[in-house]
Homo-oligomer: 223 residues x 2
DNA sequence: TTATAAATCACCCAAATGGAGTATTTATTG
DNA sequence: CAATAAATACTCCATTTGGGTGATTTATAA
């Protein structure tokens, strides 16, 4: 009965040197885990992720929210776009509704405060791999509150993607089922420019196909 | 002042031998027209259309509704799908609401009874090329009536595409922005089957891209 | 029983798409 | 003035689509 379950690959993204080191050291003691990737910024995390071997790709990411450059929520947004199956725990000292709500929106699986004991963090990681969503109790309370009056939040969310006027114009054409070339003729732009706009639209809307963009745009009447 | 305007290319689709011949002969006398394509069925019409040179492609089609095999309304539906700029006059001896309504729906530009004098037919053709929609008076009356209580008709139209259960299932996946391959995995089918279904969906929905299909499906909540 | 519709799988090919870069110009705003 | 956002244009490349054709199986209706 050596290792029944495979080790869980864990990554840490944390800019605070002392906290990062301490967390790394502590996690080494847990044989169920395999610390494969440690970064001090979202940017370096993505770089390292690209270069990592298959067997080193993290299953779980402990993501600090307050990061220099790209913050943890943006990073999670990007990460879930490309690696939807990766579980991400947001780590923060703050517990404001905005951050909690946004984190959930962008696809975080868990949300822990930084004062969570290391044992609980490890349990959280294991819980997640079994389909759970570990959340610090104080955070959970906030989440429940938000759930109760989700209406306002939902309304706030109706002002979603900050599409520029040019992008909206092109998105409308996409919704009409036009090809890039056809759109280019309508708006008097080069097809390449149209393509660039569409790529930017995809990034902002968090999709990667016309069909998905149309669906989202109609759902949140951007039309 | 020879030929100010270019000749209008005209096609005839009519299975009744005598009527077709007579119409062809009469049209020859009109120098504004250029009879380039005469067929006795929708099928042969499409065949000939494919093989016709650029300068022979009809601008206007005189389409009989009562045809053996594919009827004139279906043929118009198909034709407008591929040649939206082509003007089609429906020709028939009947004047029932169903046929009139369907003809308009599939994109016919004009609707004439077969007893229309040849001069009027020629005028109808010229009218159409100037943006008009020639309609026999008795037909026009019916159309106006339909306009007045369009509500019922519109409701009837809300049950539009007879998609099969399998097709609906796949359309839902398309709406979710999935690729054919991804859909194939979800529904346990080969990607080729998925593709076949999607092609059939397009035909039924009268579209030719995922974006357009999604838009239509959402507009008429097929979801 | 013979059409007919539905569902399934397959191949070919041209066109369109999505993704990742690079680069210039023009506002706008701190 | 420098930094930033927006708009514009272009290249390369792999993947996906859309369209055409053809074929088999099953079920249902004429």
């Amino acid at each position: 009965m050596e290792s029944e379950a495979p080790k869980i690959n864990v990554a840490i993204v944390e800019d605070h040197d002392i906290f990062r080191k301490r967390l790394s050291e502590l996690l080494y003691f847990y044989k169920e885990l395999n610390l494969t990737l440690v970064a001090d910024s979202a940017e370096s995390f993505f770089e390292k992720l690209e270069r990592s071997q298959d067997e080193e790709v993290p299953d779980v990411v402990l993501m600090d929210i307050e990061l220099p450059g790209m913050n943890g929520i943006e990073a999670t947004f990007e990460l879930k776009r490309n690696e939807p199956e990766m579980d991400i725990i947001m780590f923060t000292v703050f517990e404001d509704d905005e951050r909690i709500f946004d984190s959930i929106q962008v696809g975080a699986t868990g949300y822990l405060l930084k004062d969570t004991p290391i044992d609980d963090v490890v349990n959280a990681i294991k819980d997640m791999k079994e389909g759970g969503s570990p959340i610090s109790p104080s955070i959970a309370r906030r989440v429940f509150d938000m759930m109760r009056n989700q209406k306002e939040k939902a309304d706030t969310d109706e002002v979603p993607f900050n599409l520029t006027p040019a992008e909206i114009k092109i998105l409308e054409q996409v919704i009409d089922g036009k090809t890039n070339k056809e759109i280019a003729e309508v708006v008097f732009l080069s097809p390449w420019t149209v393509k660039t706009h569409i790529k930017n639209i995809y990034k902002k809307m968090h999709v990667n196909s016309r069909a998905a963009a149309v669906r989202l745009a109609l759902k949140r009447n951007i039309v």
